[in-house]
């Protein structure tokens, strides 16, 4: 493999990995607070992609407007899922909420088939983002650089919210002790809603960029990326935001590089993610950056 090709694969992996990371953050934040795996999260990602498809391709709105609509729409859907499917089960056994999550996921997917039809639809990429240029012999398109850059900016912003603001403090506090957090005057339901809103907005951004990268949308497009992002979250240490991003990048690199170096194995591409999951669960069950809790009483 030439260096040029390697750099191209590298940027490709960075893009795919940061998309996994963006989705993984939604899983990890909700898990960190509620100990719930929000299976509907991959479907919020799908909805984000569809919303941007409808607004820009079908209704010919400008991209900026379409992106805004997609983020807002997916965020509202994420909030609705929390309100309807999870909040009524807050004090129920954890398994009930998990089953509810699976149910919601199937519901959204099948509703999407009914409403959007099951037919995959092509997304028209803005030509501006696809205009190839070359740097030192490496051919690049702006989209390839935009995806990791946007992801990086969003994750930095999120870390600032979580570690430097009051709602962020409340989130970190709820994840350890809901009762004490309430005693301090924090409205827990509101903070949980905020968590769903942030996770859904990030999933929508990922969905939009995914739709641009593989230019099409279909109702089940959220399942595999959702699973892989979940694996990324576990790999990075579920509950940890930097861990989710790191896990996403690791997964992106494993997937792209394995195919790049061993083209014969390309059929097993999706299996690598699960192999990675098994290895990490055997070697370090808390994930790369998962915290080990030592409470002193």
């Amino acid at each position: 493999m030439t260096l040029n090709m390697f750099v191209q694969h590298f940027i490709n992996a960075l893009g795919l990995g940061s998309l996994y990371g963006l989705i993984a953050i939604g899983y990890t934040m909700v898990y960190g607070i509620l100990r719930l795996i929000n299976f509907a999260h991959g479907d919020i990602f799908m909805l984000g992609a569809y919303f941007v498809f409808f607004s820009t391709v079908m209704y010919k709105m400008p991209w900026a407007v379409g992106v805004g609509i997609a983020i807002l729409g997916a965020t509202l859907c994420g909030l609705l899922v929390d309100r309807v499917a999870y909040r009524p089960l807050r004090s129920a056994p954890r398994i009930s909420a998990l089953i509810s999550a699976i149910g919601v996921s199937f519901f959204i997917e099948n509703l999407a088939v009914v409403v959007f039809t099951g037919m995959p639809r092509p997304v028209v990429q803005p030509p501006m983002l696809m205009k190839a240029f070359s740097v030192g012999g490496v051919r690049l398109v702006p989209l390839g650089l935009m995806v990791p850059a946007i992801s990086f900016v969003l994750v930095s912003g999120l870390l600032w919210v979580v570690y430097k603001t009051k709602p962020g403090l409340a989130m970190r506090s709820i994840s350890h002790d809901i009762e004490t957090t309430r005693l301090m005057g924090v409205s827990v339901d509101r903070i949980i809603a905020l968590t769903f809103a942030i996770g859904s907005a990030l999933a929508a951004v990922a969905g939009i960029m995914w739709a641009l990268r593989y230019p099409r949308v279909e109702p089940f497009m959220g399942i595999i990326p959702g699973f892989k992002a979940f694996i990324a979250a576990v790999f990075g240490g579920i509950g940890s935001i930097p861990g989710a991003m790191l896990g996403g990048l690791a997964l992106g690199f494993v997937e792209i590089m394995s195919v790049a170096f061993f083209p014969k194995l390309s059929g097993y591409k999706d299996a690598f993610a699960f192999v990675l999951l098994i290895v990490i669960l055997l070697a370090k069950p808390t994930g790369l950056m998962g915290e080990k809790l030592e409470d002193k009483i």
């Binding site: 350890h176 004490t180 957090t181 309430r182 005693l183 924090v186 809790l293 030592e294 009483i297």
Partner: protein
Amino acid sequence: MLEIRDLNVWYGGIHAVHGVNLSIRRGEIVTLIGANGAGKSSTIRAIAGLVKGCKGSIEYTDAGGKTVQLAGKQPEVMVKLGIALSPEGRRILPHLTVEENLLLGAYTRSDKKEIAENMEYGYSLFPRLRERRAQKGGTLSGGEQQMLAVARAMMSRPDLLMLDEPSLGLAPILVEEVFRIIQTINREGRTILLVEQNAFAALRIAHKAYVLETGDITLEGTGAELLENPKVKEAYLGGA
């Protein structure tokens, strides 16, 4: 300030508190003593809104003279009403720094200057916390965690400070310090409800005291009266 009438608390099928009546006047230190499982914590947790199965009336009159019914209210509204609880077992957030724990106590406050002043006040009460401000709560010793729990509850500038077993697990010298600070806080105009197993220490500083036994109040009086009461001496102060 606080009027409790006929408070009953159930945990699952267990009737933990049977019709307790209790009243707290502004400016007092009121203590609730009793053995383990007598219903002290259940009572204080019911006031804080942490108990689902409770019945009875809990009337709170705030500094402005307005009276509200606390029974059935959620715990997160108590801070805004001027009530703060330092819970049993301290419940420090181990992964947050001392400073973040304190900021959490000021969650309902938005005035930055006031928060900074309150934090300064907490550090002046407990200078040890200032030294450890950047340390994670989980790395503190038991005594330091207790100080942090009290300072955190004080961050909301409560009118009524409720303390659930502040002496639990502390060395005698620290118990003395914590109780001294409770008195200081009280002298500055805050009303205190103190739940304690350490009856001697609690009665010494209390203006008014109640003895709880298996869910019923069996004795009440001033702290000094109960210290001299033969029954209390026999049951809680190790005879003599």
